[in-house]
Amino acid sequence: MQDLLKYTLRIADTSLILGQRLSEWCSKGPTLEEDIALSNISLDLFGQANGLLEYASKIDGSRTSDDLAFKRNEREFYNLQICEQENGHFGDTIVRQFLCDTYFMIFYQELSKSEDETLAAIANKSIKEVSYHLRHSKNWLIRLGDGTDESKEKVQKSLEDIWKYTGEFFEMDDLDNLMSAQKIGVNNIKLKDEWNLIVNQVLSDAKIKRPEDSYMMTGSKKGLHTELLGKMLAEMQYLPRAYPNAKW
């Protein structure tokens, strides 16, 4: 059960932390419309995280989903490191979101075949949302990349800056191997071809260059993170920790 708990937490944390990051755009979007679009995506991600954390709480048996979100420390979070990277400018956010959305789309398609009914159901529900998110981020990336000289230069740089965090999408550790063998989890290596296909196509439509693969960051599967996660959690967890029984 511990294995399934940890596996579920990895997926949940990835949605939760990316949702939390995106929510920082709320009230600061470049236009009113885009502000709402980014906040909508953030809320979808929180919804996915909530479903997964509820399931994790059920497996865990003692902690509630809120406990799992607000009472774990940095080293107990297993989100992919790309999710905790800062929003930067709008282009930075769009590039990060596009790379993640493409990954989510393919990951959830695979997860929807899981023999674990709850994970399969959550994956199926998420596909519809993620498909819209991908449409949003992909279109923006093409507009920006194939846009003015300035917008092109900016997103090219965004892509190069974040590329080293994309290696984690396709990592497999003992737990992944175990879950995949039990037909509960996804074989991440198998995601790579389709991810490349989509990313290459969209980058070519956006007329920007795919960076060379070089050093790739790693560690989130063991709870190792960049220094950015701690600060995020401090803000996200402050209220429930300072006022443990606070209610809406």
Binding site: E33, A37, G147, S151
Partner: protein
């Protein structure tokens, strides 16, 4: 298959320009078979962005089954000065209103 899905609507994207975005009017059909109703407007640079912005702004709570967006500049509108000549003459002609008919039972949207 996924690749095809993501290539959809590519022709509706505009290049990023320094122009100000334009205003689009949003019409939403709440149920199949009903007329599209005007809901409001959005700013957008191109067709696809207009459609997505309309979706995000006006259909978050399951309001619709279809969205139309139309550039506001493409809508031809009567002006307040037209009011008298356009609309007043019908006021005293009650026979133009179908008030003398009985509504068939169950016909909701006439």
């Amino acid at each position: 298959m996924l690749l095809k899905h993501i290539q959809k609507n590519k022709n509706n994207l505009a290049k990023m320009t320094k122009d100000k975005s334009t205003v689009w009017e949003v019409f939403i059909q709440s149920k199949n078979g009903l007329a599209h109703k005007h809901f409001g407007n959005v700013h957008a640079e191109d067709k696809e962005m207009a459609l997505q912005n309309a979706r995000d702004l006006y259909t978050r709570r399951n309001e619709g089954s279809c969205i139309w967006v139309v550039r506001s500049e493409h809508i031809v509108s009567s002006v307040p000065e037209d009011e008298a000549s356009f609309f007043d003459p019908s006021n005293d002609k009650v026979y133009r209103h179908p008030t003398f008919y009985k509504m068939p039972e169950g016909a909701k949207y006439i």
